[in-house]
Amino acid sequence: MWKIAFRNLLSKKTRTFLALTGLVIAVVGVIGLISISDGIKGTITETLGKVQGVQVLQKDVFSPAFSSVKLSVIPKIESLPEVNVVVPRVFRVAFSVEGTRTFSGGSEPPFIVGIDPVKEQATTGGGSYGTRVTKGRFLKTSDKYAVIIGKKIADDFKKPVGSMIEINNYNFRVVGILETSSSSMDTMMLMPISTVRSMFGLSQDEASMLYVDLKNPADAESVAKKIELRVDGVDAKTGTEFATDITSVLGSLDMFFWAISLIAVLVGGVGILNTMLMSVMERFRDFGILKAIGWSNSNVMTLVISESVILGAAGGIAGVILGTALVEVAKPILGFPMQVSLSLAVTAFLLSVFLGLIGGLYPARKASKLNPIEAIRYG
């Protein structure tokens, strides 16, 4: 049966080729659009990952500068399976830099942030300051009076890497410069946590806040709830409101791309329907003969559907290969995030086979219902 179906398709090469072209365009369209959508989602999720995580502060205290959390709660939080690492940070206001008062009245003051260099670099993205140091280096455990300053501080006070800077009447060596798109981080000064503690007379077993770095940013909300249940006297905050918004935007983006894909698929489907219908009508006589010599209605139907499914499968394979190749070629040119996942390739292929099946059903039925006498006489 399959062999005959193959032969029939090969005997009308031009038409088979045109039908395949229609299918290939549909499959390439789906692959192109969905890969763009997946790519955008991937990029956004990755970006979200940078701001995601859970911040643990003293209960009912909203600014980390006035918050105090005991380090003894860290093991309770780190024992949660979703947690990658818990990083203590000490936040204090820098009231003077280079002998200048740095803030007055309503403006946000620059912060001194005391960090643990080792733990900070174990974060996967999250609040990792390390990845944002654009000049110089990150802090080391052996550093004492070393500082990484925000770009704005560096520019305002003209402090390149290697220069000395006076902060709250202490002298520090600038080892790195932090550059971000966030204005609050551009005025930050990162120092070793123990240095900050001794500058401000804090005990070694406390921090202003704990940054909880997660294995999967999507767990932020549930982890925050668990932390509040396990640890007394703290608030655990997430950026999930933001994330929820983004997720719904991504959802509609996805819907949009699928809707366009659906149009491509419908065009492909109508194409294969048209091809098979034409091909069946041209062969009324053949089907009449087959029925006369004893093929049953379902035998004839099977033959036509086989032809159509072969078309669908061939179009699917060609479309997936071509689509993937085009995406690979287009990616560097467009500078656009695109990815063809295995599941997308499989879905696109199955879609094409399915189109073949559906597009073949009606023509197959038409062929099977032929009256053999009339088909032979007039076919």
Binding site: L290, I293, G294, W295, N297
Partner: protein, 225 residues
């Protein structure tokens, strides 16, 4: 003891043609026995093709009975009729009606495809018939590479491949010159003798009927002789 294969008893067939009914067969009765080489002759429009279609279980009579090996075809549904065609009947058509996309041997074996028979077995069986019909070196040609006579011989092999009880031929030489037509009849006769196969052949060409055992002359839907 002669075995009756098909008995036609007082069969009438009406066709609706637009608003009017055509009375194509008006009370035909005849019997076809095992091994017969029978002609049905008559002018065009006499009802001979209609009768052949009824004999071949392609259609059912409006009135009367057709007993195929004792079973009344009018009582059977479409699936059973197609099974009878598949197992018991071979067809040869005027226009050869081979599938152009397939080779000669594939055309011969096509009635066996729905039976699920092993391809090698089918091909061996086809090769045997094709050799007898002088098509040994034409097995892998496509129909458009064959002459009319060769195509009709392929069609004969196709009609025999399912080992039918009866082979029905509708104007098998209608598109062939008389020399080739004679050859085709000689082949049909050969198959009839060699395998004791029953042949019912519709023709309007009186030249060939002397080759037959039995001739039914049909005129205006009735057997006249």
């Amino acid at each position: 003891m002669v075995k009756k294969i098909i008995e036609v008893r007082d069969v009438h067939k009406y066709f609706k043609l637009g608003e009017t009914y055509v009375h194509a067969l008006r009370g035909v009765s005849l019997t076809i026995n095992q091994g017969d080489f029978v002609f049905i002759v008559g002018p065009s429009g006499s009802g001979k093709s209609t009768l052949l279609h009824l004999l071949g279980a392609l259609d059912v009579p409006t009135q009367g009975k057709i007993l195929f090996e004792g079973k009344n075809l009018a009582d059977l549904n479409e699936d059973v009729l197609s099974a009878i065609r598949r197992k018991k009947i071979g067809f040869i058509f005027q226009a050869f009606n081979l599938m152009q996309s397939l080779t000669a041997i594939e055309n011969v074996t096509i009635p066996l495809v729905p039976t699920g028979i092993d391809e090698d077995v089918a091909n061996r069986r086809a090769a045997k018939f094709m050799e007898m019909l002088g098509l040994k070196d034409r097995m892998f040609h496509t129909p458009n590479q064959l002459s009319g006579g060769q195509q009709q011989r392929v069609a004969i092999a196709r009609a025999l491949i399912n080992d039918p009880i009866v082979v029905l031929a509708d104007e098998p030489t209608g598109e062939l010159d008389s020399k080739t037509g004679n050859e085709i009849f000689d082949y049909l006769r050969l198959m009839n003798k060699k395998f004791n196969k029953t042949f019912v052949i519709v023709t309007h060409d009186m030249e060939y009927i002397k080759k037959g055992d039995k001739v039914f002359k049909i005129h205006d839907g009735k057997i006249i002789d």
